[in-house]
Every structure is written in structure tokens, then in C-alpha cells.
């Protein structure tokens, strides 16, 4: 194989692996071309602030979907946990962290409730969470007594609207943000290098050193550019720290932990998993508990972002989260899907919304475009995978 052919081979292979990433880059490029404001520091900061809750929901949802279930109730749970938090902080005047704690506890209880019916009674998640969607929406109205509560203000408001900046000074560009990102990039590079060394130690094939370095450098450049944009706007958003922590934890849990592997095994073939010693009921239960917990985190972030709680909050959030997972390559029949994919899927949804709002696309057209993008993104992915399978 000559050099050009081998480069082409590398490109097509990587294209196949990350078709959805390419779709994301294309969508970003289109918006950037149509509106120069799109990649401005202020707008990038806005995207992070506005859509983190969908990404948080997508992280939990992808595990539910991999386990072969679905959760339709997350929108209502976002509303309920936000409402509980609002009652605790605004109505009862307790400190902000009591509100956070109350929301998390409610999220865990909701998850345990749904997990019980799915795992131990054996009702499909679709039904249980459809019931939950109604149940928790109704409870939100009860908790809020049919009225909106606002404002949170103070520290609670800062969760989704605050920034960490100025700690290390800087001239209009926040040094602290840049340092944090630089540490993250270096940490990522080191972990990639160690993975590569580990693979070499076990005599596995790895990509060539130049390709490895080029990939890392390109990635580092993109991330640092993004960091620079944030730093020259308002600094490091607090929600981005929350999101990064969740991403790292759940990427590890799904890919490296025994629990995560059992989730994939159940989604792939429940009978075989059961006969391999996987405690299917227990795992299903905890997958739903986890979803409830993450829905409450999203509820906290969302209520903080809008600085209050409304009975109708979180409507249709479940569909955004589910769409994010499927755009990100999860399989409708379970057993396939990744946290990273779901995040990219969620970013596609977020970028679409933001880009269209920025351009002043009428609200009637926005859902039409989103629906079509969902369809096309998944079609593109299926096409890529089929071509990959045919060439294998």
C-alpha cells in the first residue's frame, strides 16, 4: 500500500468510526458560515450555559437505552426536582444547599420508584415511565400549588449562571480558565499515552506514532481555542465543571467498570447475561436510580438557569435526551451506545437550537429542522456503518 492510499484508508476508517462527529463538525461549520456571531466568545458561553441540562440527561439516558429500556419521565422529574428545590429555598427560606440536597433525594426516590416497577415487578420501562411522566408532572403542580416560584438568587442562581474567573488575573483573558483547560488537555494526553503504552505492552496494534500525535495536537488545539473563547468572554462556567466531572465519571463507569459492562450485557442478551451470573434485576434497578439522580441534577441546573420553578418546566426534555442518544449511535434494541456519542448527539441538538435562534429562524420552523436533522443524522450513521460492514 502506498502512502496516499494508506492516508486515505486512515481517513475513511476514522470517518466510519466517528461519522456523527463529522456531522457535528459540518453543522457547526454551516452555522459559522451563515452567521459569524455563532463562534463568538459570548455565544459559545451561551451554548454551554443554555443546554447543559440536556447533556446531563443524555448521560443517564444512554445507560437506560443501552440496558434496553427507555425513560419518558425525565422532563417531569426535572420539573419536580426543580419545584422541590424552589419550595425549600424560596418558600421556606432555607440555604441553597438544602435545596440541592432535597432535589437530589427526590431524584433518587423517583429513580428507586421506577426501578422497583421495572426491575422487580417486570413492567417495561416504557410503561412505567409513561406513568411516571404523568405522575411526576401532577406532583409538580401539587408541590408548587399551581404557581411559579422565583427568584432563587444568590449561590443557587450561580450554579448555572456563575463563572470561575479572575483567580489568577489576566488582561481581558482569564488565565485561570486557560490553566484549567491546559491541565485537562495535558491530563488527557497523558492518559491517552498510558493507554497506548499499555496496549503496546500487551502486543496490541496501535496507530502509528505520528498519527497519534497529530490527533492529539488537533484535539488540543480545538479545545484550547474553545478555552480561549470562554476566557475572553466571562471565564469558566460552573456548569461546565459539573458537566466535565459527570462525563469523566460516567465514561469510566460505562466503559471500565463491572457495573457498566453488566449494563451492556443485559442490553445485548438478557438471558445470556442472567446465566453468566449478572444480577439483572439489581442492575436494572440501579440504572433507573441513576437516571433519577441525573434527572435531579438536570433539574437543579435548569431551575438555577431560569432562576425559578414553573409547573410546566422541562416539558419535552425527555425527547431531546432520547434524540441525543440515538443521534449519538445508541441502538433502539439495546446493548449499543456510548456516553461520548450521546454527548455529541446532545451537542448537535443544542447547536441546532442556538444557531437557529441566533439567525432568527421562526419558532415554527425550528422543530421541523430539528426533526429532519435527527432523521438525517441517524440515516448518515446507518449508511456509514453499512458501508463499513460491507467493506470489512
Amino acid at each position: 500500500m502506498n502512502a496516499i492510499a494508506s492516508i486515505r484508508d486512515v481517513i475513511t476508517r476514522n470517518m466510519r468510526q466517528s461519522g456523527i462527529l463529522v456531522a457535528f463538525v459540518v453543522i457547526v461549520a454551516i452555522f459559522a458560515l451563515l452567521n459569524p456571531m455563532f463562534l463568538s466568545p459570548t455565544n459559545l458561553t451561551n451554548i454551554v450555559l443554555q443546554y447543559t441540562y440536556i447533556l446531563i440527561l443524555a448521560i443517564g439516558m444512554v445507560m437506560v437505552i443501552v440496558a434496553g429500556q427507555i425513560d419518558l419521565s425525565v422532563g417531569s422529574v426535572v420539573a419536580l426536582t426543580g419545584a422541590v428545590s424552589a419550595v425549600v429555598v424560596i418558600k421556606m427560606g432555607m440555604p441553597w444547599w438544602m435545596g440541592v440536597l432535597a432535589a437530589l433525594v427526590v431524584g433518587l426516590l423517583v429513580g428507586a420508584w421506577q426501578g422497583f416497577w421495572v426491575a422487580y415487578v417486570g413492567i417495561p420501562g416504557f410503561i412505567v415511565t409513561l406513568a411516571g411522566m404523568l405522575l411526576f408532572r401532577g406532583l409538580t403542580y401539587v408541590v408548587l400549588d399551581n404557581v411559579s416560584l422565583s427568584p432563587f438568587g444568590g449561590t443557587y442562581y450561580g450554579i448555572a449562571n456563575g463563572f470561575v474567573n479572575g483567580l489568577l488575573g489576566g488582561y481581558g483573558v482569564d488565565t485561570f480558565t486557560l490553566v484549567i483547560f491546559a491541565i485537562a488537555v495535558v491530563g488527557f494526553g497523558v492518559s491517552q499515552w498510558r493507554t497506548r503504552q499499555g496496549k503496546i505492552a500487551y502486543q496490541q496494534t496501535v496507530e502509528s506514532l505520528p498519527l497519534f500525535v497529530v490527533k492529539l495536537v488537533v484535539l488540543a488545539a480545538v479545545v484550547m481555542w474553545f478555552a480561549y473563547q470562554l476566557a475572553s468572554s466571562r471565564g469558566l462556567p460552573v456548569v461546565l465543571i459539573i458537566l466535565a466531572a459527570l462525563t469523566i465519571v460516567y465514561a469510566l463507569v460505562t466503559q471500565k467498570s463491572v457495573f457498566g459492562r453488566h449494563v451492556y450485557a443485559i442490553g445485548g442478551n438478557q438471558h445470556a447475561a442472567e446465566l453468566s451470573g449478572v444480577k439483572v434485576k439489581k442492575i436494572n434497578f440501579w440504572v433507573f436510580v441513576n437516571m433519577g439522580l441525573l434527572a435531579s441534577v438536570a433539574g437543579i441546573v435548569y431551575s438555577s438557569r431560569v432562576n425559578g420553578a414553573q409547573p410546566a418546566a422541562g416539558n419535552m426534555f425527555e425527547l431531546d435526551a432520547i434524540a441525543a442518544c440515538f443521534i449519538g449511535g445508541a441502538s433502539t434494541s439495546g446493548g449499543v451506545g456510548r456516553v461520548g456519542g450521546a454527548l455529541i448527539g446532545g451537542l448537535i441538538m443544542a447547536v441546532m437550537s442556538n444557531g437557529m435562534q441566533l439567525m432568527g429562524v421562526p419558532t415554527s420552523v425550528q422543530p421541523i429542522v430539528k426533526g429532519l436533522v435527527l432523521l438525517l443524522a441517524v440515516a448518515f450513521d446507518i449508511y456509514n456503518r453499512r458501508r463499513a460492514a460491507a467493506l470489512r
Binding site: 499499555g198 496496549k199 505492552a201 500487551y202 496490541q204 469510566l252 471500565k256 467498570s257 463491572v258 457495573f259 459492562r261 453488566h262 451492556y264 450485557a265 445485548g268 442478551n269 438471558h271 445470556a272 447475561a273 442472567e274 446465566l275 453468566s276 451470573g277 449478572v278 444480577k279 441502538s331 446493548g335 449499543v336 460491507a390 467493506l391 470489512r392
Partner: protein, 519 residues
């Protein structure tokens, strides 16, 4: 006799693999033509080329059907010419009636394009009579047994004016009576001028029914032999299939039997949904280190139910009885406890109960023994890959690497993945349920070798099988199971197929023979 089908130098390539590398096939009008070959030899690929699953243009070579070139672009094209394939996995819809299934995709239309149910049901009844099935056409297919479903598939083929019927492993899932009935039907259809191609691993069946046999190996035609000639023995077919003499179908093994490893006493299991129905009734048996113990029983005798209820109570309810491991009574209330006691159970239905087909070999191999790779709850991915590689090479799983999806492997290789998974849990007792079902002669030999290696290492193996020659070939002792009861225990030296069959058919209310009578 004229030729109905001629396939010339068929070459079918998948990226990186030549599945067919110049196959020739001649089928004479009105004959039953068997195709033999190991798994992965290319039999199924050849039949997919013939039936248009792989459309014309995706393969090289030519096909002449009934005097004119056949260039099928789809299954519809081939069915229009009367070539119908019945796949190993039956394609019937369980909730639809017999008649609805027969005419699915080929509905009998009446006025205004609506389905004419009276005509459909009447025609279905006629077709059922032709295949010798006495069932109401309105019966839902799911309520019928596998044997009858297979006959409905044939009725469906007949409804399409079939001239060349292709059957892929038609008797793999059938019991002896149903198989016999199916073979009779094929002879009967032959009398009506229908040509059949039958793919089968059951050599005695081929010897019984085929007029000629074509042997395929590594994507090439080895030879076509006339079954009426005295030299056309099963040994000759095996030689052709594996490309070497299999002097013995069962590898030699020196028995060194040690202490008792597992003892089951008075084991009774009730049906999970039908209260009061005993599936296993007071069964007791034991197995010792270095010993292969067989459990022989007919379909429905409770073999799988016995094994699965022992393996962490994964079947049945109200289970009573005692388990002893190395002389001490143990509890195995769920699968992980059973694995903890170093008991392993490799299922008879690897696709449904044994493997995660959408995942790769690596993850399947580690799935039952994942704890060893994750001392603190985090899986060591590199070590996992090394383990999988080790089993791939030691069990000779034929695949370029362990990242290949298990669903794409042949039956024999899938079975090796199942065994790898259980060997990795380091079992003292391995229960294998129909370990060689649906796999070819060469792979069977390899599976027996794996079993022998295990007992040579001082472990114990329990083999559940419905193939009596297999049990006689590899076991030290054989228990017979009939209607949930252990009806006999015979050392293999004293066992014969006839003697075992007699014990396997003792009915529920008949008295058991005493030890002296049995031996």
C-alpha cells in the same frame, strides 16, 4: 434424466475472505441432492447465491436453471422460477394462523384486491394434506411444535409452485420421529417430481435419503458421489469434508477417576408456571474428578431443566434436594453463587442463552468471569484482551481477531466462545448441554478434545446429549433420564444404545429396574 440446475465456477468474495472459490454443482431433475461440508465451508453462502439473497452481479460464475440462465436479483425472482429456500431458522410468525403464514407475502386476493379468506383457508387445508399435517388452517402457528412448523414451511414452499426446494439443516431442531416424518415427506415430494437440495450435518440421514451428495470444503467442490454405490460410506463423506481421515470420531482418553466432586441428592423441580407439575422428580447423581458423566434423555425428559435448576436455580420453582461439592453441602441460590462454587453450565441454545451476539468475542469470553479482571470493580481492558487472545488460540477459534462480532461466527466457533467463557471461570464441574448441536464433524472433534483436556486436569464434566453414540464415545458413565426421573446408571463399558434407549423410555408410573436388572 436431465439436469435441472447447473452452477459453474461460482466465486463469491467478501472483503478479505473468499467464501466460495469456484464451486460447481449439478442437480438432476427429480433427485434429492445432499450438500455436505464443515461449518464455514460455504454451503449456506452457495444457497444464498442460488436463491438470490446475494443478487446476480455480486458473485462470479454462472447459474443455469431449467435450461436458461438464472440471474436472480432477489428472492422474489428466484421464487418466481420455483426455487424456494427454507432457512434453518424458521421464518414463521407465531401469532398468525397456519393459513396466514402459508400465504404471507403471496396472499390470495379476491375482489377489490382484498384477501379472500375462504379461498386461502381452503387452499391451505389442501396444502396441509399434501405435507401430511392434520391441523386446522386457523390454528396459530406458535401453538404447534417445531416439527409441525417445519412442515408448514414446506407447505408454504408448495404454495409457490416450487420446483427446486432447498432445505438448510431441516432436521437440526427436530426429534427422531419428526425427522423421520420430514424425510418421508421429501421422498413423497420426490415422487411428485419436486427436486430437493438438503444441507445437513446428520450423515446417517444423508445416507438414508440422498441420491447424490456433493461435498464442499473451503469454498470448493471436492466431489459429488452417487449414494447408491457401496463405496459411498459415511467415512468417505467425512474424509471429504475434513480433508483428512478421522480415524476415530472420538478422541482417545485414559480415564483417571478420583474423588467425588459434585453430588446431587433427591433433586425435585416444579414447572415455573404450571403448579403441581414435576419436571424433575427426585433425581440423584454424582460426578467425580477426572470423569465425564453423561445424561441421556429424550426431548422433554427434563435434562436441561435438571442442569439449569442445579446451576443457581435458573429454572423452575419449589426446588428441593441437596447439593454436595467436594463432600460438603452447598447452597447455589443464584447463578453467581453457582459460579462461586466453581460450577459452570454451557447452554444447549447458545444464541438465546449463551452469547451476546452483538458484542465481540473478547467481551463474551470475559462475561462470566469478569470479577477476575476487575479486582476493585474496574475492568483491566488489556488483560481482558490477552485472556480472550489466549482462549482464541488454545481453543482454535477461527477468526482473525477477538474483536470480531460473535454473531458472525459459525456455530462451531460460537460454541468454542461459550466454552471459553466457562473455562475462564475456572470450573471444577462443567455441565455442557448438547455441546455439539448444529456443528460439524471437525468442530465436534475439537469440542471433545476440550472436554478431555478438562478431565485430564482433574476436573469433572457432565455431558447432556440426545446423541447416544456421542455419549458412548466420550463418557465414563451414563445416567438415563426419563420423565424427570433418573431411571438408570450404566458404566460406559456395559452400555449399548438399545439398553440406554430402553431406560430412557420408562414411563412415569412404571417401576424402575433394580441395579442388578439394569446392568
Amino acid at each position: 434424466m436431465s439436469t435441472i440446475l447447473e452452477m459453474r465456477s461460482i466465486v463469491k468474495e467478501f472483503p478479505g475472505v473468499k467464501a466460495l472459490d469456484g464451486v460447481d454443482l449439478d442437480v438432476t431433475r427429480g433427485e434429492i441432492h445432499a450438500i455436505c461440508g464443515e461449518n464455514g465451508a460455504g454451503k449456506s453462502t452457495l444457497m444464498k447465491v442460488l436463491s438470490g439473497v446475494y443478487p446476480h452481479g455480486t458473485y462470479d460464475g454462472e447459474i443455469v436453471f431449467d435450461g436458461s440462465a438464472a440471474e436472480f436479483g432477489s428472492i422474489n425472482d428466484s421464487e418466481a422460477r420455483g426455487v424456494v429456500i427454507i432457512h434453518q431458522e424458521l421464518a414463521l410468525v407465531p401469532y398468525l394462523s397456519v393459513a396466514e403464514n402459508i400465504f404471507l407475502g403471496n396472499e390470495r386476493r379476491g375482489r377489490a384486491g382484498l384477501i379472500d379468506w375462504n379461498q386461502s383457508n381452503a387452499e391451505a387445508a389442501k396444502l396441509l394434506a399434501r405435507v401430511g399435517l392434520d391441523e386446522n388452517p386457523l390454528t396459530p402457528v406458535g401453538t404447534l411444535g417445531v416439527g409441525k412448523q417445519q412442515l408448514i414451511e414446506i407447505a408454504k414452499a408448495l404454495s409457490k409452485e416450487v420446483r427446486l426446494l432447498i432445505l438448510d439443516e431441516p432436521t437440526a431442531a427436530l426429534n427422531d420421529t419428526d425427522s423421520e416424518h420430514l424425510l418421508d415427506l421429501l421422498r413423497h415430494l420426490k415422487g411428485q417430481g419436486i427436486t430437493s437440495i438438503i444441507i445437513s450435518h446428520k450423515l446417517n440421514e444423508i445416507a438414508e435419503i440422498a441420491d447424490r451428495t456433493t461435498i464442499i470444503r473451503d469454498g470448493r467442490t471436492i466431489e459429488t458421489i452417487d449414494m447408491s454405490e457401496p463405496t459411498s460410506t459415511q467415512d468417505r463423506i467425512i474424509r471429504g469434508m475434513v480433508g483428512r481421515d478421522l480415524e476415530h470420531r472420538y478422541p482417545e482418553r485414559a480415564s483417571v477417576v478420583g474423588d467425588e466432586v459434585l453430588r446431587v441428592e433427591d433433586w425435585t423441580v416444579f414447572h415455573p408456571t404450571q403448579p403441581g407439575r414435576k419436571v424433575v422428580d427426585g433425581a440423584s447423581f454424582n460426578v467425580r474428578a477426572g470423569e465425564v458423566v453423561g445424561i441421556a434423555g429424550l426431548m422433554g425428559a427434563g435434562r436441561t431443566e435438571l442442569a439449569m435448576s442445579i446451576f443457581g436455580r435458573s429454572y423452575g420453582r419449589n426446588i428441593s434436594g441437596r447439593l454436595y461439592k467436594d463432600g460438603k453441602e452447598i447452597q447455589a441460590r443464584n447463578v453467581s453463587e453457582a459460579i462461586g462454587h466453581h460450577i459452570a453450565y454451557a447452554t444447549e441454545d447458545r444464541k438465546v442463552y449463551g452469547l451476546n451476539l452483538i458484542d465481540d468475542i473478547r467481551h463474551n469470553v470475559s462475561s462470566a468471569g469478569l470479577g477476575q479482571l476487575a479486582p476493585r470493580g474496574w475492568v483491566n481492558g488489556n488483560e481482558e484482551l490477552r485472556v480472550a487472545e489466549e482462549y482464541r488460540s488454545s481453543l482454535n477459534i477461527k477468526t482473525p481477531n477477538v474483536l470480531a462480532s460473535v454473531g458472525k461466527l459459525s456455530g462451531g466457533n460460537q460454541q468454542k466462545v461459550v466454552l471459553s467463557k466457562w473455562l475462564y471461570t475456572d470450573p471444577d464441574v462443567l455441565i455442557v448441554d448438547e455441546p455439539t448441536r448444529g456443528i460439524d464433524v471437525g468442530a465436534k472433534y475439537e469440542i471433545y478434545t476440550i472436554i478431555n483436556k478438562m478431565v485430564a486436569a482433574g476436573k469433572a464434566v457432565v455431558v447432556i446429549s440426545s446423541e447416544l453414540p456421542e455419549l458412548l464415545g466420550i463418557c465414563d458413565r451414563v445416567y438415563t433420564l426419563a420423565f424427570g426421573r433418573i431411571t438408570g446408571e450404566v458404566p460406559v463399558a456395559e452400555a449399548t444404545q438399545e439398553g440406554l434407549m430402553e431406560l430412557m423410555t420408562i414411563e412415569r408410573d412404571q417401576p424402575l429396574p433394580t441395579k442388578e436388572n439394569a446392568s
